[in-house]
Amino acid sequence: MKILVCISHVPDTTSKIAFVENNSKFDTTGVQFIIGPYDDYALARAIELKETMGATVTVLNVGTADSEPTIRKALAIGADDAIRVNAVPTDSLFVATQIAAHAKGYDLVLMGRESIDFNSGVVHAMVGEMLGIPSISPVMKLDIDGTKVKMTKEIEGGKEQVEANLPLVAGCQEPIAEWKIPNMRGIMSARTKPLNVVEPQSIEVSVVNKSFELPAPKGAVKMISADNVAELVTRLKTEAKVL
């Protein structure tokens, strides 16, 4: 079985977000980049499948050379080889197009339910559509039985048991697998694993980021005594007008 895991290269979850150049560019100063947390779940499940049923795992990232440490980390965790599509991931359609161009021939395409930078949550669905194969998200459990894939998917207020045939695309989230941490052997071997850099397909731009902004700053918190909780109710009614 051949598995393709698509990973994003995103600011660490604790990053403070700021913009520079007249709010046209993300400020990377002091920001640490990581494998997208949801993509980390996808990768962990792929490695488990490799260990239990035998598979090759290829990771793919659409990104500039800055992504390479992140890709090497995925190789250290256990992926066999990697593809980097050499481009700035500008929007979901662009990323999906690049993935679809390389995903043919894979039995399973796994990725996170969304990236934590642009949070679009649509790349898996677009890739499925482009390849004409099923796509399911967010997947919390995924098991393979022959060519059948049994999954548990979250919906608002609950979950569903879903079934589809290979090949398919899944957008993953916890608790599909435990995140894996690279060990020394993995880190050493990752250095020599193939990382193929390929040029992107060109497509017509359909969505353009014009500018960025931050939410309005919060006012100071109003403290209420624990001995007088009724005051909170009054204030929520008359002052905040939310009750």
Partner: protein
């Protein structure tokens, strides 16, 4: 401008966020047609007109009762074509967003999800969308002739602007190949207020000490007609179901009122709640970081404060 709105149903009832999508489309100006797929309550369908739809289409076919994303996207792409729609508006949801993504490919439309405000059309067609899990916004221009917008809760005010609208049956021809996934079973909390749609959310964290103490969270939620949520460790430990987990890696909420009890306020939790209009924090540690993001705070023991607060809410009714 012809605007098509996909209204989602759950057990035949129209989702509130879908009515917000209708209100959003109405506020954009233009002609608003709504479409519902599968099982839907007839009275509810008519009442979509109240929020600004002039026409309601209903595709009746029991095969549509299952929410197969591929099937829904094929039908919606066809309706967009039949109705000559310039824009498709729908709710950002576990069904709406992936359906929209596929329709975007089928119709060559520009697509933005997580949209928080009405479009600005003074120069091009620009929508504001939430990014970095609520920590920032991007203004994005949708370049293509056809556009698809998936809106977040509160992107439009839900107010009545019209009367009932006529409901017409829409004939679908379904393609067998689209039924490429099968729903075997589903488990759903019944009668609960859905967390992503709730106006008030009461969330508990690790400070609640264990699932056996959730009764006092539920009592307050009941008194406020609120949904319940939790922090990540709480769902990780299995105290509460995963779909209640709020934050960066969980559900993003945008209620009028978010009450956080025994939650420290880690940046990943805040990321999922910072779009709330008003935040109340109850924590026994006066230095808990959550107080910095709160509008109102009470330093106190949850086990002491919550029952009193529930009583005060009931007394004020």
């Amino acid at each position: 401008m012809n605007i098509l709105v996909f209204v989602e149903t759950s057990e035949g009832k129209i989702r509130k966020t879908s009515l917000e999508a209708v209100a959003y489309a109405h506020a954009m100006g233009g002609t608003v047609t709504a479409i519902a797929l599968g099982k839907a309550d007839a009275n509810e369908l008519q009442s979509i007109g109240k929020y600004g739809a002039t026409k309601v289409l209903h595709a009746v076919d029991s095969k549509l009762d299952q929410h197969v994303i591929q099937v829904y996207s094929s039908v919606l792409a066809k309706v967009m074509q039949d109705e000559n729609a310039d824009v498709l508006v729908l709710a950002n949801s576990s069904l709406g967003t992936p359906v929209a993504a596929k329709v975007a490919i089928k119709t060559n439309a520009s697509f933005a999800s997580n949209v928080t405000e009405l479009p600005n059309t003074s120069a091009g067609f620009v929508v504001k969308r939430s990014i970095y899990t609520g920590k920032a916004f991007a203004n994005v221009e949708l370049k293509n002739a056809k556009k698809i917008i998936a809106i977040r809760k509160n992107a439009a005010e839900l107010k009545e602007v019209g009367g009932n609208a006529p409901v017409t049956n829409y004939n679908v021809s379904l393609n067998d190949a689209d039924f490429n996934t099968k729903t075997l079973s589903s488990e759903k909390a019944t009668g609960d207020i859905l967390l992503p749609e709730a106006e008030i959310v009461v969330s508990g964290g690790r400070g609640m000490k264990g699932p056996e103490h959730w009764g006092i969270i539920e009592n307050l939620a009941k008194a406020l007609h609120a949904a319940t949520g939790c922090s990540k460790p709480v769902s990780d430990m299995g105290w509460r179901p995963h779909h209640e987990h709020v934050g960066q890696t969980g559900v993003k909420v945008a209620p009028q009122l978010y009450i956080a009890v025994g939650i420290s306020g880690a940046i990943q939790h805040l990321a999922g709640v910072n779009s709330s209009k008003c935040i109340v924090v109850i924590n026994k540690d006066a230095d808990a970081p959550f107080f910095k993001a709160a509008d109102y705070g009470i330093v106190g023991d949850a086990f002491d404060v919550l029952p009193k607060l529930t009583e005060a809410v009931l007394a004020a009714k």
